[in-house]
């Protein structure tokens, strides 16, 4: 079965491992993520100012392209794309005047945007359509003995109307990890912001966030954490270098995309090239547990 898929920029660069693993996993589960044509940047962050519709154009243009290609849904992997597309869609379509204005701004497009395309996160597809029971049946290499925490960050859960699960007490990532045979651990900082784009302008804030979030996971017994956001992954993984320079007692912890661990568990294996996109080396723990 084919699912129309919107990748977003970072999945073609720093988070290529996230996408590659997703492709493998979905194939194993009998689905194909079919990349939509002519997509552009989603806008990355939703603009919350009421008066500037120009800032919504990047998101809306993707949804318009999907309509043009007769797609009624876009499946996304990246938390930021998911969040930005959803919020832009609501902001523009719930007000007729905004919808008109945005269409006027995109006058060179072939069609006028209607607002008919749904945006779905892959985790929701796994939970509701494929189901975790089915995933459990397909597991070839259970992640047993792997103690792992699900890190949600902000954009899968807030604003609450677009939360993929309960916005204060989600279990979707933990349930997925349990279905893969891992020991999933709930840790206190799993819903907290990683510092996001402040990683450029306020690096010290992000470093402290990384320190607090990784330590919170470690204190709760996690050996690694998983995420679905390439920016969280950058801040929590790549910024561990600076975090260790700032806090001498800081210990590294691998940060996985959920699709990478799914690939390992479902028999798709681990690709050596994925390790290069990580800072904290993920291979030792996988080898220790006999998973690669």
């Amino acid at each position: 079965m084919k699912l129309p898929y919107y990748p977003g920029c970072t999945l073609k660069a720093n988070a290529a491992n996230f996408e590659e693993a997703a492709m493998r996993v979905m194939k194993d589960l009998g689905y194909e993520l079919q990349e939509m044509k002519d997509w552009v940047c989603c806008g990355t962050v939703f603009s919350m100012t009421n008066d500037d519709l120009m800032l919504q154009l990047a998101s809306i243009r993707n949804l318009l392209r999907a309509e043009e290609q007769n797609l009624n849904e876009l499946v996304v992997l990246c938390s930021m794309c998911y969040n930005t597309l959803q919020r832009a869609k609501k902001f523009i379509t719930e007000d007729e005047e905004s919808l008109d204005k945005v269409n006027d701004l995109m006058y060179k497009e072939n069609i006028r945007y209607k607002g008919s395309v749904d945006v779905t996160h892959l985790l929701t597809v796994l939970k509701d359509r494929i189901t975790f029971d089915r995933i459990k049946e397909k597991v070839e290499k259970p992640l047993s003995l792997l103690k792992i925490g699900g890190y949600y960050g902000c954009l899968l859960l807030r604003p609450k109307e677009f939360a993929i699960d309960d916005f204060e007490d989600p279990t979707i990532i933990e349930d997925l990890l349990s279905s893969l045979g891992a020991e999933s651990i709930v840790f206190p900082y799993r819903l907290e912001c990683c510092g996001a784009y402040q990683t450029i302008t306020k690096k010290d804030v992000t470093i402290k966030r990384t320190y607090e979030i990784i330590n919170s996971a470690r204190k709760s017994g996690c050996e690694a954490i998983v995420t679905s956001c390439p920016l969280c992954a950058f801040n929590l993984d790549q910024r561990q270098k600076e975090t260790a320079e700032e806090f001498i007692e800081f210990e590294q912890m691998p940060v996985f995309y959920f699709t990478e661990l799914m690939s390992v568990a479902l028999g798709g294996g681990w690709d050596k090239s994925w390790s290069k996109l990580h800072y904290a080396d993920p291979e030792p723990i996988l080898k220790e547990k006999g998973l690669i």
């Binding site: 970072t10 100012t49 990246c78 819903l191 912001c193 784009y197 402040q198 450029i200 302008t201 306020k202």
Partner: protein, 135 residues
Amino acid sequence: MSYKMTRDIIKNSLVQKIEELSGQNVFDCYQCGNCSSGCPVVDYMDIMPNQVLRLAQLGATEDILNSETIWICSACLQCSTRCPKGVEVAKVMEALRSINLRKRIGTLDPKKIEIEDLQNLPPIALVGAFRKLTG
């Protein structure tokens, strides 16, 4: 002598601008502090999120526009989801940033990004920062 203080007297044009941009009524806030207690970066702020709302209610807009707080906020929306009065505090922060950015105050200077960072940063970080920190 009795004197009736109304929001029309207190509310200056900048408060009106904040409300217009954010779509929020700053006078809805009753200072419970939920926003500040949930904020993950509050320890870096010079004014706490609930104080930003209080200062806006009092018309002290210059103080909040010049605060470090509005640039520390990363729009994680924890404050907005936890406000019992439904005030989207993150939108107020965004409005305050926008008022500054539209006057070219606080804009991101690409020259200040470290070279090593530029080589390693994912597109998602760069585009996000430029979108949030340009006018």
